[in-house]
């Protein structure tokens, strides 16, 4: 699985999360830019997963395809979930929702990486 792409997704997600955290602390609703940021994170995730799928078709596979898919399903749902809920909550708590989502995405990307590495290292 592509480490550089994963790093980009993690960095983007943390960036949007940090931005939302500043707004949450300043008692502000999520800005349009943060909602767009969630979209960018989702797009980067999809690029990462497509790259993973291409790598898998080339023989570089996760140890447990089912586990990998379980994480994939969870992770692609996160930015849209955050987007919908943040739109519903135009207060500081909307920003908190974006922070939560943007902190969860990097954790899941790392877990995704672990399920992949079991095989390539073993």
């Amino acid at each position: 699985m592509n480490g550089t792409l994963s790093g980009i997704v993690i960095a983007l997600s943390l960036l949007v999360g940090a931005w939302a955290l500043v707004d949450a602390l300043r008692d502000r609703a999520p800005s349009r830019g943060q909602l767009i940021g969630l979209g960018v994170v989702e797009a980067a995730l999809i690029v990462l997963l497509v790259a993973a799928a291409i790598a898998a078709s080339g023989g570089d596979r996760p140890a447990s395809a089912v586990t990998f898919l379980g994480y994939v399903v969870t992770i692609v749902c996160l930015p849209p979930l955050g987007w919908v809920l943040a739109r519903l909550e135009p207060t500081r708590w909307g920003s908190v929702i974006i922070v939560v989502v943007c902190l969860t995405v990097p954790v899941l990307v790392l877990r995704l990486h672990q399920t992949w590495q079991v095989v390539t290292s073993g």
Partner: protein, 137 residues
């Protein structure tokens, strides 16, 4: 008016952030349970059924918080309580009798694999239900 306030506040403000966290747990616990039951159920049936049960509790809690209203507030109260009891019971069991849980669930070791959020979440949930459920006078 007082009747209207509690339902309206349950799923807004901090409550909506709580829904986000519960939603994430509902999603990831369901995915985990589906993977475990679908691919290796016979290895540790008890642990995997527990995973599925935990996922169901998270789903019910998420829906109840989102719906609001007095009935759903009670449902949320019950599911948060079950969740707290579950994480403490499974946490204790997994520490003292590791053989009972050969494979991890969300609640194993008090939710250590999930940054102990499963232990803290029901407590925050119950506090929020108490706070949001108070009738303004």
């Amino acid at each position: 008016m007082a009747e209207q306030t509690a339902p309206r506040t349950l799923g807004t403000g901090p409550g909506r952030a709580l829904i986000a966290v519960y939603g994430i747990f509902a999603l990831s616990a369901s995915a985990r349970a589906a993977v475990q039951i679908g691919s290796k159920f016979s290895e540790a049936p008890l642990a995997y059924l527990l995973s599925a049960f935990a996922a169901a509790v998270y789903i019910v809690a998420t829906v109840a918080l989102a719906r609001g209203g007095e009935t759903w507030r009670r449902v949320a109260l019950v599911s948060c309580s079950i969740e707290l009891a579950g994480v403490v019971a499974v946490g204790l069991l997994s520490v003292f009798d590791a053989a009972a849980f050969p494979d991890d669930t969300v609640w194993t070791d008090f939710g250590r694999g999930y940054g102990y959020v499963p232990l803290v979440l029901p407590i925050i949930g119950l506090l929020w239900l108490r706070y949001a459920g108070r009738k303004p006078r």
